[in-house]
Symmetry: C2
Subunit: 274 residues, 2 copies
């Protein structure tokens, strides 16, 4: 089945983090129907191996394709880092990751050419960001920092607890020492920590809004493919998760600042076996 | 195939936490062969639903049974809380959890009958500990506290970071207020935090060593079933994980204080389909 402008956009993440991307897409493209999948039965992806994350990402994409999406947004940096190329090889619709848009925005922003990337262990060790930045700006200095405790802190709503400040201080100290002027939040959970990070990094270090950059890239992609939806009003997004919805719903309401209803639990095995 | 004394003991957990139980079993039963399975492709279990955790636990047990174990130790409190009864229904060998032994030791220890339990969200919300304590000591006062950030702090080796102290202070404050005299560490990761917790709780609050209690219960179980191994020397344990071994190996060496070799990655699907 070929994609049509009236079809929804599919967005997936390991859990709730990708909702920061969904929020940015809703803001920029309010006419679009959205389907969100959070693979909460296997969250988090950040520490898992490239092979395992790729297998999970393929199942996530297969599920969204079975729902006739016209494009897939990989709203998870770890899955983008490990699986984007594979997903593009097998998917029948365009697939957009979160790495390239953030890198493009960072390269446009930096003056010192010293760019820091914060991410999960998997994202940082994949060196996807490092390669993408150097491809666009060969004389850049890239500081890539693993921040594995940021996801649990966000998931536990500890972003304003003094412990979050101490952990963030430990993680970002090298950014201050290296005098970077631009920071990419290379994990879709991290925008929740942005007020704290802004405070610790000070006014002269710019934090790239990768979710907004991703939404912009999606708009260009749909426009170029003549797939932008022309309707005036979109229905509410559909939300699917692979574990019981309660925990997701509770976390999600903190990110979207609105109550979320009708989250459905699904099994990815069925989609994988079709 | 019926169990024989020369067969190994199977131990499973979602990740490395169960190694604290393996360590206790090795110490008490040095003649026994041990097989350890860490379901690292789906770690953690603590926040996932009872149904999902039960499905995973059944696959874990199936894998161990396929390796001819004579008994299964569920070295994960969340899996014990959600799945122990189901596992006992379907397994062909005795299945031992970590909840009952810890509760028994706590009930023997307490004088004030005010007992606190620290655990993951799943374990605490299952109310397994609360019910097990009240079954043995009906007039006990049980304070059950969710500590979801303890697992990531241990996994990231932050147990001596000042942030771990702040988070632990937040979590245990109700124990001091309620004047409990006994604390059960209801998650196999938490013994790694015991020096910090001892320091914060002070000398008058006793922390139960649930891993040691579990090893004692296992010894009784094997003895009663005439399944204690009589050999003089056991081979080194076999370790299996469901994701790439590197991260597990790195974390495990911190818990076992020795290098770990020959960790094998396996797929549970094969065992599940047999």
């Amino acid at each position: 089945m070929s994609a049509s402008a009236s079809h929804p956009i599919g967005i997936f993440d390991s859990g709730v983090g990708g909702l920061t991307v969904l929020r940015a897409v809703q803001k920029l493209l309010p006419s679009e129907s959205l389907i969100y999948l959070g693979d909460t039965a296997r969250v988090p992806y950040g520490d898992k191996s490239p092979e395992t994350v790729t297998r999970y990402a393929l199942e996530d994409a297969r599920f969204l394709e079975a729902h006739n999406v016209k494009a897939i947004v990989v709203a998870c940096n770890t899955a983008t880092a490990h699986a984007l190329e594979t997903l593009r090889d097998v998917a029948s619709v365009p697939v957009l990751g979160v790495v390239e848009p953030g890198v493009k925005a960072a390269v446009a922003q930096t003056k010192s050419k010293k760019i820091a990337v914060l991410g999960t262990r998997g994202t940082i060790r994949s060196e996807t960001y490092q390669r993408a930045i150097l491809a666009r700006l060969p004389d850049a200095k890239v500081l890539a920092l693993e921040c594995p405790l940021f996801v649990p802190l966000v998931e536990e709503r500890f972003q304003e607890h003094p412990a979050a400040r101490l952990i963030a201080q430990s993680y970002i100290q090298p950014i201050l020492e290296a005098q970077c002027d631009t920071v990419i939040l290379g994990c879709t959970h991290y925008p929740i920590l942005q007020p704290l990070l802004n405070d610790l990094l000070g006014p002269y270090i710019h934090i790239v809004d990768a979710a907004a950059a991703c939404a912009q890239a999606l708009k260009r992609l749909l426009n170029d493919s003549h797939l932008l939806c022309q309707s005036l009003e979109a229905p509410a997004p559909s939300y699917y998760v692979t574990d019981a919805p309660e925990h997701f719903q509770r976390l999600a309401s903190g990110i979207l600042s609105s109550d979320m209803h009708g989250v459905q639990q699904v099994s990815l095995l069925e989609a994988a076996l079709t």
